[in-house]
């Protein structure tokens, strides 16, 4: 906090607790959710808040994730501020409604606990759930730590509800690694949160005095225009996110990182691009390697939609090689984040050799040694074959030092 003029309330919170605090500060009218590991404690905390009077909201117990999001679409359609949370199988069960919500331009906010997708059954963290829904029309952000989880959650409402955006937002937290680990978090007072986030007002709603048609058909003659406007809404979010972060900084004294945050990339020869909580470990490895005289950097993608294409192209600079580290694989091709990054590099006209590091699947730890190994592969100029196959499964049993 800056200068001590802003009241600070540091508390020891898990990532999930921090999301719940962010939701409380946003004062949603309606919350509907179905519990699923590792999201459960978010909705438990919110239920506690409703029960002890700290949060006044219509808290709906629903029978499934599909119903949770359907209920919120209805609530949003009368102009309510709404929140839900899910994960993995639950998020996928919602998938149909994700498109409904974004197509209807209902600015619902969701927290997703990034978790592996069955089969094999697994409740631990990876990013294959939300990344498989990049095309659902939702804005997607990925939190680094619990503080950022709170901040992104509160900001999500401001971004989603902005009249030039009107698009739902999914705030992603790495399952367990972030959702269930504790750290000191500054929880702003409600008066400041109210100053940051005014009540939701929209003309995009049911109104008995001015009857409207909702959820109508648009055939081949009109469909393109609706989809184009959805695209524009998500693109507009880039500027709205920047404005929201500037306002947030003015009120709370904490800067945001924009769509993507570069760390020591300016003179970096080798850059690792990643997202979510693992970026914290990468950052500390970058510090160690820098201390040893190696010119390495980190580019952390905070949002995947809208995609920080310009930020990526601008941060790569003189890099001799870049790696993309993600907890995802689009079978038969490469990780979804890698595909997106390559497209941004190609658009920017500067695409250095690159590798895709697939790691952390089903909750497997991504160690400092793993990350150092990624920088080693990127920078091993003695090995001309190091870019022959771009997709590397880190720690694959029986494979030579990270090579798949």
């Amino acid at each position: 906090m800056n200068g001590g003029s802003v009241p600070s309330r540091r508390r020891f919170l898990s990532g999930n607790d921090a999301v719940a605090e962010g939701v409380r500060l946003a004062r949603p009218h309606v919350i509907a959710a179905y519990p699923i590991t590792p999201q459960t404690t978010v909705v438990e905390r919110l239920a506690d808040m409703v029960s002890d009077g700290r949060l006044s909201t219509e808290y709906m117990y629903v029978e499934s994730e599909h119903s949770a999001l359907s209920a919120l679409i209805g609530a949003s359609a009368v102009g309510a501020r709404t929140f839900t949370a899910s994960s993995s199988q639950g998020l996928l069960y919602m998938a149909e409604c994700l498109h409904y919500a974004s197509g209807g331009r209902f600015p619902i906010v969701m927290m997703n606990a990034n978790r592996s997708v069955a089969l094999p059954w697994n409740i631990l963290g990876d990013q294959r759930d939300s990344l498989s829904l990049l095309d659902s029309g939702w804005i997607q952000s990925y939190a680094l730590d619990a503080q950022e989880a709170l901040d992104l959650t509160l900001q999500a409402f401001a971004v989603a509800e902005h009249p030039e955006v009107l698009t739902p937002v999914m705030v992603n937290l790495d399952g367990f690694v972030l959702t269930h680990t504790y750290e000191a978090v500054d929880v702003p007072p409600t008066e400041l949160a109210d100053e940051f986030l005014p009540p939701f007002v929209t003309a995009n709603r049911m109104d008995l005095d001015r009857p409207k048609s909702l959820g109508f058909v648009a055939g081949a003659a009109d469909n393109t225009e609706f989809k184009y406007l959805q695209h524009v809404g998500v693109l507009n979010a880039a500027g709205v996110i920047a404005d929201a972060e500037a306002k947030f900084n003015r009120i709370f004294g904490r800067k945001g990182g924009g769509l993507a945050e570069a760390y020591l990339c300016d003179d970096a020869e080798y850059i690792l691009i990643t997202l979510g909580s693992v970026a914290g470990t990468v950052r500390s490895v970058v510090d160690d390697l820098r201390a040893a005289g190696r010119r390495v950097g980190l580019l952390r993608l905070r949002y995947l939609r809208p995609f920080p294409g310009k930020e990526i192209a601008a941060s790569i600079g003189r890099a001799k090689a870049v790696g993309v580290l993600e907890k995802d694989i689009s079978f038969g091709h490469e990780g979804a984040v890698y595909t997106n990054v390559l497209s941004a590099l190609a658009r920017g006209g500067n695409a250095p050799p690159s590798l895709n590091f697939v790691a952390g699947l089903g909750g497997r730890d991504i160690s400092r040694a793993d990350i150092k190994g990624m920088f080693d592969i990127l920078s091993d100029e003695e090995s001309p074959r190091r870019f022959d196959s771009p997709v590397r499964f880190i720690g694959l049993r029986g494979a030579k030092a990270g090579l798949a």
């Binding site: 359609a77 331009r105 209902f106 009107l166 409207k212 009109d222 393109t224 609706f226």
Partner: protein, 102 residues
């Protein structure tokens, strides 16, 4: 009697520019962008002599296709899919399902 206002339908004219389309699928009522009832095989026929105007058919209709005109209950053919729920729900047997063609 409870008023039952229905928007007056206007002819749909496509906007000239994409930016003129509504944001999301929320727009002023009264424009039917695409018809969705032309595959109806049966239609309800209301018997005014048996009907007491209880409006149970109106409440049961999933498509809002039952309309009251004065004291009479009539069908809005633009929305009726011919499901027949109204005929089943009517205890007075004042609604009969009739084939669209034959």
């Amino acid at each position: 009697m409870i008023p039952m206002p229905r928007p007056i339908f206007q002819k749909y004219v496509a906007p000239i520019r994409a930016e003129d389309y509504p944001i999301g699928t929320v727009a002023e009522s009264g424009v039917l962008l695409s018809g969705s009832a032309d595959w109806r095989r049966e239609r309800p026929v209301f018997n005014a002599d048996l009907c007491t105007g209880c409006l149970k058919c109106y409440l049961a209709c999933p498509d809002g296709a039952v309309v009251r005109e004065g004291k009479k209950v009539v069908l809005d053919e633009r929305f009726c899919k011919g499901c027949g729920i109204c005929a089943v729900e009517c205890r007075l047997k004042a609604i009969r399902m009739a084939a669209e063609r034959e």
